[in-house]
Amino acid sequence: MVRRGMWASACGPDVLRDAGTCGDVLCGSDVVHWAKRGVCMVVQLIVNGLAMGFIYALAALGVVMLYNALGIVNFAQGEFATLGAFIAYSLIAEMGVPYPLGFVVTVLIVAAVGVLFERIVYRPLRHKHFLTVIVSTIGVMIFFREFERIVWKPIPRFFPDIFEGRLITIGNVVIVPQHVFIIGVALVLMVSLYLFLNKTSVGAKMRATAQDQETASLMGVDVEKMIVLTFVISACLGAIAGVLFAPIFFITIDMGGTVGLTAFCASIIGGFGSIPGAICGALLLGLVEVFAAAYVSSVYKPAVAFMLMIAFLMFRPRGIFGEKVSVKV
């Protein structure tokens, strides 16, 4: 099922159906059969939802880190994910580079794009009005999309499954290994990012820059370098999310836009500016989306994140963890 809508994505129960539903259930009574099916369906949905949640979490971390450091929201964040997926596709599927090497090279290329982004787009706009920044990021988005359309043509690409279609079967529960892989990689990344930010001196400098640029520069922190580094990390997180997401569904030009906006919603739900909030919000959204698609309606799945976010903004604008939202005077 391919929906070519702007923010359309599909990674809900369709994937599960493709991968085969629960294993053979050998029980006499239909009631037990369906009950068991129900339970393993739920377990599978949880794994699926968590995998999606971790992908959103990686992208959301990129959004939040940029916001904390610079006070800007990069609406083009998701485009790093699309770019990462396309580059990885070219390297791994077309040129036959081994997966781990292809993965690393992709992330390095997107990191370089992140540096360019900082130089060309962010720096000239540093103290401009936020509407100008928003329009400028629209320009970036259009450029990325058209660049991808020219280079990779508007054909949905299918990223080869590194697990060659094998499935993990535990009892009656069938799990797609890519989902486990996503959860593992994301957890390792988050822990290392946490250690980097909190246990290394560069991390401390980055946090200092995020808190107060002027004071940080008085303390001898090279603020410019830290800002570039923030962009690099943010771009890398986006690229990794894209490469991990690629085998779950077709790679399309619209793919990253969905991930980026969902990540933004997730960080609002979690409490904007809070890193644990962004992760929790993302996991919550991943789960809610998958369950809503399975039990409520799959066509409205792309709207779930927005509806949840609007509900949060209306009734609990500070989100799960965040501080109070107030307009700066």
Partner: protein, 326 residues
Amino acid sequence: MGRRTRCAVAVGVVTLLAVFPLLGVGPYYIRLLNLAGIYVILTLGLNFCVGMAGQISYAQASFFGIGAYASALLTLKAGVSFWAALPLSALVALVFGVLLGLPSLKVGRYYLAIVTIGFSEIVRLVLLNWKEVTYGAEGVKNIPVPTIGAFTLNTDLRYYYLVLTIVLFAVFVSIRIVHSRIGRALHAIRMSDLAAEVMGVNTRYYKILAFALSAFFGGLAGSLIAHYDTYLHANSFNFMESAKILCMLFIGGSGSIEGPIIGAVGLTLLPEWLRFLKDYYMAIYGVGVVLLMSVMPSGIRSLIPQLARFVQRLFTNKQRAVRSEH
């Protein structure tokens, strides 16, 4: 400029616009002009919300879509004539505009941006999936063309005059609003909504009014496009369409009247002049937006005073030269 000169200029421009397509312009170019007119209405509408009140909205394409669907379905299913459906569909859009204006009272900036993106995505999905009413993914076909008695507006040229009338109406309303109490209140809100409120401006009312006006213009444009193309699909009213209208507004120069007009007409005609760029046009366009925003954040409009000064200097120099000869 005195009142009389202004009137003379206005009459001159209107006459020029009315006569222009009769001077042997091909139907294709008239179609482009019609589209440019529709985008002028959309961009002038968005200008109330973004340019004047400073409230970001990514939802202009949704109001465009709501107006288009409302007008098409009213004429097709309820048998309403186009002339009634045009204002009705604008009113339907206006109701949604008020609805979207409500969150702007609570949240601002990036939050409002994502709320409006969410709103437009939900609208698109409903239009795409509510098969019983909107014909779903098939789209709406065979939308009737407007008629006046036995006279059918079935050619590009005939439709041009309809579009021109609505464009003139939109420009007139915009000019009146900029120089009114509403315009000043919106301007104050853009500068600082807290300060505006302290000064006694009812910011809640004016913010919602800005969204309502945006939506109303969006609805008018939607009705025009529905009966012009006679076919609608929900996916044409997507995020990128809203982004395009925002770009038109900012490239022209937001907050003014001439800015949105320059932006909308320019960006509709530009692809024609730059056709040799082929597939690269959009990529270059994206780069152009980024560069323009960093070099000229108040849009092409900011060139007008410079241009005027340049022309003035040319004239004065000539006069001086003439004088020195004597």
